[in-house]
């Protein structure tokens, strides 16, 4: 009690001495320590004597060095100066344990305690260019041994101009902030700081992992661009929390680095949120709405505020962008949930949890509702937990959402793969079935083709047989036409054979009689006559035989045998046969036959029967034509004018024989001249022609002998057939 009275007396004395000296008295220390922001004196300039505790500083200017440098224009103007503080602690406070000072600064300083140099932060120099300010964040300075209750703190201090001063994490850039505490109190502070570190670096780690994870997811599956946006967002927040962690732990001390880092950190903060919201838009596959643009513009405005408002700019940009972007994220998510967007509920839950976490944190921090109930460190643990929980809920929910999307994509791909496999199998099965059907159809077709071929072959055989029969019929028909001619031809020699034989019988009788009578002269005469008769018989017998042979040759089925042939003779022989044939039918028929054979013609290798048949056919046609015309003329009583004529010519040149059969008959109408070689085409009345004559003739000449057969005809004037037979 007496001590307190004494203290009060001393204080009063000090005050009453005319304010010669300002003394800061510390009676009690709160758990978190006491910020020494009063009692400080300032003088610009640099003088080593000012460290002396006994130096009279009563004329010095009062100052609060814990203030931000930007709020201390006199310091900035001076560049260098001294701070002094007279500190009086209560002995009850001092006795059990020594006082510890914790220094925060954003300048260069040298601390003297009771005139003795104690601690240096940075490089102090009257030359502003040499000043190196460092950032000290609750750096410990130990005081002399316990018990000393009166202290004079003298600080030689300089500020570093030319730095982009800004408030890192909203904390003031104190010139020289000193907090007094004790060892026991410091321990709880360290615990608090360690806890804070754990939470801060947990966030750093989580955001790093999220950035890495989602950039990998993006690389693995580029179509989901939400992963890329979310990865960038996470990278920004990783940077944000890492910066804070480095700052609070004093791992970063260089003022310049910290200022630049702070600047970047503050400006990047809304960027991180913008990417977070962009990731949501991308994940929901929404077109960017007007709200998105408004939020972006707001962020730009917040950046401008940050640039202009030194004191609260950081709060504006960080809290403002958090509110704006979280609201937009919430809005978009609610829309997505309403649209029953797959997985949007996950993010909504994340957002709700985030709100709950952050709300609890701020309730804990700023209301006495909880603080009074827990010890400081415990409250800090809760506070940090809620804060970390709240901060991480949205990114984690988005991450979970994207992961489920990835999984869904994989699943759907797997399902699609399975479907494709199934379809492939089905297609394969169908293909095989089709193949089988095709094979079967092929087999059926093949068997049908075989069957049809056999049928066709049979038809062909039948046709061949029929053709052979028809050819035979045609032969027989022409033979029929010939019969009369042949009969005439054969009757003539027969006539001679018979009659000469009969005469010979008579003459033989006479010869015997004459011989018996001894009439030798008569006998010789008779025997000479007999000899002549015999030679006539032989000659005519041969002639008949030759005719029969020709006839046989003509009718013989196996024609086509080739041998050297005198075409002149062949043409004449058949002309005769044909002529007699038609004369036999119509004895009244008269025709002038002209032959113009080539005397120099050598033997030509042909099938004589075939060529004979052709000639016979042409002759018959020619006779038929002239006869028709004659009959027409007769009907018109104009017979004197018309003289039927058939001309047969043979001419040989170097490589071919040309046979001409020309008549001045009715001619062939131009309308049917194309059809005359068609099988079964005939102009003759039914039963008189087979219609095969010219067809077979054409075949014999073109296919049989490699020649050609042409016709020139003028209706009413006549027809000429020209046959060319190549010599080789």
């Amino acid at each position: 009690m007496s001590r307190r009275i004494l203290s009060l007396l001393l204080f009063w004395l000090a005050m009453s001495v005319g304010q010669a000296q300002t003394v800061l008295r510390i009676d009690s220390l709160p758990p978190q320590g006491l910020l020494l922001d009063k009692g400080w004196l300032w003088h610009e300039g640099d003088n080593p004597d000012w460290a002396n505790p006994t130096f009279d500083d009563s004329q010095w200017e009062r100052i609060d060095p814990a203030k931000d440098i930007m709020e201390l224009p006199q310091v900035r103007k001076a560049g260098i100066g001294w701070l002094r503080l007279h500190l009086q602690t209560d002995s009850s406070l001092v006795l059990p344990e020594a006082l510890i000072l914790l220094v925060r600064q954003m300048a260069a300083s040298e601390l003297y305690i009771n005139g003795r140099f104690s601690k240096r932060f940075g490089t102090v120099s009257p030359n502003p260019d040499q000043v190196e300010a460092v950032h000290a964040y609750f750096q410990q300075v130990s005081l002399p041994a316990p018990g000393e209750s009166a202290l004079v703190l003298a600080v030689r201090i300089a500020w570093q101009p030319g730095l982009p001063y800004n408030r890192f994490a909203a904390a003031a850039n104190s010139l020289y902030g000193v907090t007094a505490t004790t060892v026991s109190r410091l321990n709880s502070y360290i615990v608090y700081r360690n806890i804070t570190n754990i939470y801060v670096f947990s966030k750093v780690g989580v955001f790093f992992i999220l950035a890495l994870l989602h950039v990998l997811l993006y690389i693995f599956y580029p179509p989901q661009r939400a992963n890329l946006f979310f990865s960038i967002s996470s990278l920004v927040f990783f940077h944000h929390w890492l910066g804070l962690g480095l700052w609070t732990n004093g791992l970063l001390t260089d003022s310049g680095t910290i200022m630049y880092l702070g600047l970047i950190r503050a400006l990047l903060y809304p960027v991180g949120y913008v990417f977070l919201v962009t990731a949501l838009y991308s994940a929901y596959a929404f077109a960017r709405s007007i709200y998105y643009r408004i939020s972006l513009i707001t962020c730009v405005l917040l950046a401008v505020i940050y640039w202009t408002d030194y004191q609260n700019g950081v709060l504006w940009i960080e809290i403002g962008s958090t509110i704006v972007m979280t609201a937009e994220a919430l809005r978009v998510t609610v829309v997505a949930v309403r649209k029953k967007q797959r997985g949007a509920t996950i993010i909504l839950i994340g957002m709700v949890l985030s709100l709950i976490g952050l709300s609890l944190r701020y309730l804990l921090m700023f209301t006495p509702l909880f603080i009074s109930r827990f010890p400081f460190s415990v409250a800090q643990i809760y506070s940090n937990s809620f804060e970390t929980f709240g901060t991480l809920c949205i990114p984690l929910s988005l991450s979970v959402y994207l992961a489920t999307e990835f999984a869904f994509t994989s699943k759907s791909l797997a399902a699609q793969l399975a479907a494709v496999k199934l379809l492939s199998a089905q297609t394969l099965a169908q293909e095989q079935e089709k193949q089988l059907m095709l094979t079967q159809q092929n087999e059926t077709l093949e068997s049908k083709v075989t069957e049809r071929t056999a049928q066709l072959q049979q038809s062909l055989d039948t046709l061949k047989t029929t053709q052979a029969q028809l050819i035979q019929k045609e032969k027989m028909a022409s033979l029929g036409e010939l019969t009369a001619g042949i009969a005439h031809e054969i009757q003539n020699p027969l006539n001679f054979v018979n009659n000469f034989a009969e005469v010979s019988v008579e003459m033989t009788e006479e010869l015997r009689e004459n011989l018996q009578k001894g009439n030798i002269t008569n006998a010789v005469e008779l025997s000479e006559g007999l000899g002549e008769n015999m030679s006539y018989i032989v000659e005519n017998g041969k002639r008949a035989a030759s005719i029969v042979r020709s006839m046989l040759e003509h009718s013989r089925s196996s024609s086509g045998e080739r041998r050297p042939t005198n075409l002149n003779e062949l043409a004449e022989e058949y002309l005769k046969l044909a002529y007699h044939g038609i004369r036999a039918q119509d004895p009244d028929f008269q025709v002038q036959l002209c032959t113009q054979f080539d005397d120099k013609l050598q033997l030509v290798t042909v099938a004589p029967q075939d060529i004979g048949r052709v000639l016979l056919n042409l002759y018959n046609n020619a006779f038929y034509a002239v006869r028709q015309k004659q009959q027409q003329q007769d009907n018109g009583r104009d017979s004197a004018v018309y003289q039927p004529q058939v001309t047969v010519s043979i001419r040989a040149d170097q490589d071919a024989i040309a046979l001409y059969v020309k008549d001045n008959g009715t001619g062939i109408p131009s309308t049917i001249v194309d059809k005359i070689y068609q099988p079964f085409f005939t102009t003759k009345p039914t039963g008189q022609g087979t219609g095969l004559g010219l067809s077979l003739s054409y075949d014999i000449i073109t296919r049989g002998h490699g020649g050609d057969m042409r016709v020139e005809s003028c209706e009413g004037e006549g027809t000429e057939f020209v046959i060319h037979i190549p010599l080789n």
């Binding site: 005439h488 054969i490 009757q491 009659n499 036999a584 008269q590 036959l593």
Partner: protein
């Protein structure tokens, strides 16, 4: 007076054949034979020859026997001369035509000379009174 017979045929051996078969009649002066190788030749030989019988082939190059008959009958509608057609074609069609044109008879080859000689007597003897 030998009976003058004209044989018209394109076959050259008809001459030796007829001469052989009528050798007795020729040597006895009963028959005189003349030959023509075509209808045209026959028509040139005919006038004023005193031919009482013409034996003609039908089927000859150029003028046929039937045409020859027609021409003869155009000048001499009745015998003499008697005209007998001899042909290898013995069909009905030819016979009818020959008869239609005024032939006295129709013989087919090979010639039956016995029959011919009989007919010869018939043709010539029967006609003799009307001719004289």
């Amino acid at each position: 007076m030998p009976k003058k017979i004209l044989v018209v045929d394109d076959e050259a051996q008809m001459k030796p054949l007829f001469e052989a078969r009528f050798r007795r009649e020729i040597s006895s002066g009963e028959v005189h034979l003349a030959f023509a190788r075509s209808g045209e030749e026959a028509l040139t030989v005919m006038p004023g020859s005193g031919v009482v019988l013409i034996l003609s082939d039908i089927n000859m190059p150029g003028m046929s026997g039937l045409e020859l008959l027609r021409r003869i009958r155009a000048v001499n509608p009745q015998r003499p001369p008697a005209v007998v057609m001899i042909t290898a074609y013995g069909d009905q069609n030819n016979r009818q035509q020959a008869s239609h044109y005024g032939a006295d008879d129709f013989l087919t080859k090979p010639i039956d000379f016995k029959l011919l000689k009989d007919k010869l007597t018939e043709f010539v003897v029967d006609d003799q009174p009307s001719a004289s």
